[in-house]
Amino acid sequence: MEEIYQASSAAEVPQTFAFKGKGSELFGIQLPNWVLTVVTLGIYYPWAKAEKLKYLYQKTEFAGSRFKFHGTGKEMFRGFIKAVFLIGLIIGVTIALFVKLPEESKFMGTLFLYLSIGLVIPMAIFGQMRYRTSRSSWRGIHFKYTGDLKTMYTIFLKGILLTLVTLGLYLPWFMVDIRKEIMGNIRFGNIRFSFDGEGGELFGIHFKGRMLTMLTLGIYFFWYQSELHQFYVNNILLEQDGKYSRLEANVTGKGYLKLLVGNVLIIVFTLGLGTPLATIRSMKYVINNSELFCNLDLENLEQAEPDTIGAAMEDVSDILNLDLV
């Protein structure tokens, strides 16, 4: 997707990202939030999460300005309650089915569990994307998610069926379809995002990665992870008025090795208390190694009309551990 027109205002310049957070600061912020979470038996969790996100966004700089997270604990608390209720209901019904049903139809319980999780995941992704984008801004301009739930369900239905039929071989194409749907619906002012990766390429990365990881007794794992990272980031394109810009991640296997081994050591030797430090290390590594080959007019982004979107599915995605944004 090389640029063919001459840009009117700016030539293609790499705009770098920078992460300015410090481990000691995040630790100081998360610690009292942990205390409150424990004291309130977990109820405070959404507020704690909002504070962490606010910090991480505020310390992420692009083209000299910081990102901002506008979500609040109160909003996320509503979502949290729904999430806990929904997941609780699913677990409750599953257990009830296992207890009530006679031996020969116990598989109904398993079936119910998989079906309901399958129904919840697209909703969780959709809800989280809508919420997170609407609450993220840069220079006062908010992001926006324009996708709809029906398309997400269609992608999941097709993806799950084909993955089952092909005994898992279709999974990379399924993942790319989800990514294309998510990225293709992110708007930032008049900037449109898209994802240009292909399932075949992802399949190749997974195939090579798993083979070599086995052959090298795990050492290749870090190079495998960095290739995955590059696949997911370098295929993101930004389009504004017909002009395209491209994200680029400069991560390496060696860098991933240092990052992940360091993080595991930090977390293990501090009994988990050093998690904020590991978070900062990851953010620094990922953000500082990202560049945008930029053809964008960053001065004239226009705000879309504000909308009111609840945090309904934010925490469902959290409980199901769908790390998307």
Partner: protein, 363 residues
Amino acid sequence: MAVFEGLYFNGKTSAGLPVSVELLPTEFRLTTRTDADFLRIWDTNLIGRNDFNDAELVELQYAASPPEYLEVKDPAFFGALKMHYPKAAFAGSRYGSLISGNPLPLLSVLAVFVLLVAGAYFWLIPKTAEVIAENLPVSAEAKLGQALIDGMLEAEEKDSVKTMYAQRFFNLLHASPQSGKVSVTVVKHRQANAFAVPGGHIVVYEPIIHLTDSYEEFAGLIAHENAHLQHRHSLKALFRNLSSYFLVSLLFGDLNGIMVVVAENANSLKSLEYNRELEKEADMTGLALLEQKHIDPNGMVGLFSALKDEKENIDLPEFLSTHPVLDSRINYLKAKIASRKFRVQQNDSLQYYWQKLKEKSIE
């Protein structure tokens, strides 16, 4: 008052307008050189809270419609805000003392946190689990127990003749009308083991019967397991495992493992290690039952001695054979027996059923 240079964003476009920011007691005055008509007055009460600004860049949000923003990169601005508006939420940070670099406040919060987690783990969770276990309706316990025992015995081979004798042994030992129905099952197995399952089930792995040298020892075993049931110990331990996991996952933000633990617990019930208090409680209640039925209480001591001595010859689950407290259990049982007068009476029926249980199985 002080004047700083910054960029103003109107919330409609991303174009930053270079402005001079004049800090007045109750307002910010924003003006620009390029447009003499431009003037924005920011009421300091409507400026949003400081979301982790630093000296390198201060970004403020103003509650207009749409919200407006101000970016100031002058390193002195951060300090100036604190100086001029010491009480304002946009100047200070609620985490100020924790991120200032002074370790003392941080360490005290850390100490509070560690204490809280330890308190929750060692006191609150066991206590809560106990309360839940004690108040769970009998019908719910019975259903849960039935599901657990069905799952457990599915893969096991039941010895139906010995199950019958063991059930009769139990009924004679524990013929009290108010206690709920308890089912005893003898299972053919490699290991020597016995355990209580919620809802009134005792499972005996056959080899443990051969470890007993008298009906009194077997009575001790059954009385002990029955006491676990009476006190709902396995239910308590189950809830405790679950809630400990819940706490850990809450702290590390990983809630999706709960289901795994539910599944694991169903199967690990047979090797569940109750804590010392619960074991002691079961021993004492069991001993009281032996006393009530005039059975020689030394049977229980004999059982533990046999468990201790036999670990080389027989396959015992690890928690039984390496139980570090077997010695102390033998000691407190001996002390208890010495402290009381037990009236012992030979019980021929129990003797008969125990002999039947010891016989080689008829396949």
